[in-house]
Amino acid sequence: MSETPATARSRMAAHAAGAGTVLAGVVLVEALIRAGVINGFVVPLPSAILAAFPRVIVEENVLHRFWQTTQEVMWAALLLAVFGVGLGALLYRYRLLRRACETWVAALAAAPIVLMYPLFLVIFGRSATTIVAIGFAAGLSAVILKTVEGLAGTRRVLLDVGRSFRLTPAQQFRMILLPSALPSIFVGLRLGLIFAMINIVGVEFLINFGGLGQLINDLAERYDLPATYAAIFFVVLVSVVFFVVTERLERWAQRSA
């Protein structure tokens, strides 16, 4: 599916136009603030925000905070992989259980789990455990549903092949069901991880504990506006990178699965 040079060029042009308009907008904001049209106390100068970046990175120990948040995400990932896939496999294996619970799990996906954070605060205190727990709870539904979907989507004829070779149920699961479901499971894990990451950073902000989310809260409470904006941009950047990296990983995993 290779592009013609013409389409590639117009695509580049579009990207450039998009980036250009965003940049123009920023410059416009800068000009309007300097002109006094926009209150500089409410919206800091973009140039000031830019200047705040190095200050924030150096003074606020951003790397260490980034590592803290990453650790929380990694714990959530581990829990999701073990319990999410495990529960999904359980639901697939026991059809009655699946018919009973699948709608509940789907409803869970629509539920605002993160709003239980005050409850988790009471149970686990202001700690990383609370943060990881919410991240895990937020991503769980996606992993379970995608695991079930992947397992259930195994082509009937492949199961027949297994039966024709007289595989035991354990062999059937290990050699046919699981490999067949792997692409779907990866999609689910990625989705779950994204939800987890979003909620982890959010809860860090809310409970004023942890890594990057807490940084924003800290800077905001200190009324250091340029730094607050800079930190927000930085966190958005990190989440974009996380999203892109997991997207690439998923595609690579699906190709070699």
Partner: protein, 287 residues
């Protein structure tokens, strides 16, 4: 992996040696909301060791049901199926199945697919890969061992499925319209290949098909089935010399066999079309 063939039962009138596959009065009935429904009715036949037998019939004659019953994937039927004298209960190690649909494992390479039954048997990695290589070259896919099925054409994937089943060295090779999804030319060439292999290995083979030329080209005997309920209408001995290749398709004798079987088949196919029409008419227009 060959089951020991004990010649215990008395020789039936139609064969000099014990048949390898003995299908005795097999019937399959379903209960549907519209009432009881018979898919196949009192089908009996045998397959001798080394024979290539085809079962042909119109759509709806219960061929696939027969395939699933003999293969042991369906347990609830009347009659008996015996392999080398012993009745089957579920899937049997002596029966290797090749399905109509795409059945290669997309996550394994060609070689790993073919090595699958050897892996199950507990063979060590090096030995089973070497052995699998033999079967890969048997079906003419040497050089493609490390490819994944997605990189191959439909015909090549079916060859992989066949090689995989052959690697388990079954007493009986049971195939359900393996070439149905392929174009005519590929089908003829693959049919050739399968016949070659069958003659070389002296592999007892039962082929389910709806393709007349294929049945006559490959088989020693053709069993013609009626439209629903599927019964055995006729058995035709194909006395064309071996080795056969696709050239024999043009010969006069071939033509006569085809005409003979087509006469029966056409009757059944017409009955089938009429029955479908009647059913659609009875169902009435959709609201």
């Amino acid at each position: 992996m060959q089951p020991s063939v004990t010649v215990a039962a008395p020789a039936p009138a139609s064969a000099a040696a014990t048949p390898l596959l003995d299908v005795e009065r097999v019937s399959k009935r379903f209960v549907t909301p519209e009432g009881p429904f018979t898919a196949i009715d009192d089908v009996s036949f045998t397959v001798a060791p080394g024979e290539f037998v085809s079962v042909i019939g119109p759509s709806g004659c219960g061929k696939s049901t027969l395939f699933n019953i003999i293969g042991g994937l369906v347990g609830d039927y009347e009659g008996r199926v015996r392999v080398a004298g012993t009745g089957i209960t579920g899937t049997h190690a002596g029966i290797g199945m090749v399905f109509q649909e795409e059945s290669t494992f997309p996550w394994r390479t060609v070689l790993e697919n073919v090595a699958f039954p050897l892996e199950l048997a507990g063979m060590q990695k090096e030995e089973r890969l070497a052995r699998a290589r033999h079967f890969v070259s048997l079906v003419g896919l040497s050089g493609f061992e490390r490819r994944h099925p997605a990189e191959l054409s439909g015909g090549m994937r079916q060859r992989v499925s066949i090689a995989r089943t052959l690697a388990s060295e079954p007493a009986i090779l049971l195939m359900d319209e393996p070439f149905a999804a392929l174009d005519e030319q590929t089908r003829v060439i693959l049919g050739d290949k399968v016949l070659q292999i069958q003659q070389q290995l002296k592999q007892t083979t039962l082929l389910i098909t709806h393709n007349l030329t294929e049945a006559v080209q490959l088989s020693d005997r053709v069993l013609v089935m009626t439209y629903r309920p599927g019964r055995l209408k006729r058995i035709v001995d194909i006395e064309l010399p071996h080795p056969r290749d696709s050239d024999v398709v043009g010969s006069e004798r071939f033509g006569r066999y085809v005409a003979e079987i087509w006469h029966d088949l056409r009757e059944e196919a017409t009955r089938g079309l009429e029955a479908d029409e009647a059913q659609a008419r009875a169902a009435g227009p959709r609201s």
